[in-house]
Amino acid sequence: MNTAEFSLWICLSSILAGLLGSLTGLGGGVVIVPVLTLIFHIDIRYAIGASLVSVIATSSGAAAAYVREGFSNIRIGMFLEIATTLGALFGAYLTAKVTTHSIGIVFGIVLLYSAYASFRTKHPEHGHTSPDPLAMRLKMHGTFPSSTGDEAYVAQRVPAGFSLMFAAGTLSGLLGIGSGAVKVLAMDQAMRLPFKVSTTTSNFMIGVTAAASAGIYLSRGYISPGLAMPVMLGVLGGSLVGSKILVNAEVKTLRLVFGVVIVALGIEMIFNSVTGRL
């Protein structure tokens, strides 16, 4: 395989990964890393380097569309970014300390969890709870447009959400992914924010989180232009197309098929890591 063919194959795979990532809501990073390591046998450090830059691209590229919907909360996002960026520094530090096998195993587990989380049914709104004094002081409240007019919400359990966000940042820095699934878990489950607010604010945060470890990846030589170029362009293109499809089509079956693919990739990541092939 020469350089041009290699780049073309990587780019095509990345388009597919971006498409899959945006249709399942998991993000492109979580899909492209297993593809690069399992199919193209690329060292996982190059794979997460290329993935991380594509994560910044998709998160920032989609931000304008999300903002227009009026769900994302800039204050909640900014406050929690203190936790995710610190976590990302810690995660990027860990990447150099642990073996590639353990990175692979953690990656597989995150894949399985992400697949599970994306199929969890959106539970009904959480109902009215008493305002959290800490959240009120930090102005972590807002309104979002609903069928019955603007609905107000206040964040609950801020410390729990903050800690989970640190973990999300660590995974992002360790694995080169956006770890949107854990971010949504922190906001939707721990802080009891409305689901739409959680997902859109999470997307907004992913780029900033990834930027915190990107500098470290760059200085360690994880970001290689020959690989990052087709991956970044492919994932960005695929996810833009995916978000257009999402608006126009009912994608339930598609999501199910892709969910199975994600689970298979997760199991294979763990298997290959345990048997030392990764």
Binding site: T3, V53, A57, S60, I74, L89, I216, L218, A228, L233
Partner: protein
């Protein structure tokens, strides 16, 4: 206040999109040049040896990119991409300042400090 918030978010969203498109164009340009000059076998990514030193630090990347090195142009595009969310935090800090929300000016500056620390620390 809500109106200003919404306006601020729309401005930030547009800025992010512009940054990404600019970065993608630079990466694409570098990519085309890179593919035109490399005819050899696929690069070895199976074994990790790390990218060469000249493509690891922002200062060296900029110098090489100015001289038209295709790989450095790609890296420069990626640097623009990494800078986009950092600029977003700066814009948010300025927005909070205009809104006179001093607490969130400090929160934004804290995030900015972590981001700049990671860049400074690693080079």
């Amino acid at each position: 206040m809500q109106l200003t918030d919404q306006k601020l978010e729309v401005a930030i969203g547009r800025m992010l999109q512009t940054g990404v498109m600019l970065a993608a164009l630079v990466v694409l340009l570098g990519g085309i040049l890179y593919l035109r000059q490399s005819t050899g076998p696929r690069p070895d990514y199976i074994h990790f040896h790390g990218e060469i030193d000249n493509l690891r630090s922002p200062a060296k990347i900029v110098v090489l990119a100015i001289h038209g090195n295709p790989e450095a142009i790609i890296q420069f595009g990626l640097l623009l991409l990494i800078a986009t969310p950092i600029v977003r935090v700066m814009v948010a800090a300025a927005g909070f300042l205009i809104e006179k929300d001093h607490m969130y000016v400090w929160v934004s500056l804290a995030v900015l400090a972590v981001l700049l620390f990671s860049l400074w620390r690693s080079h």
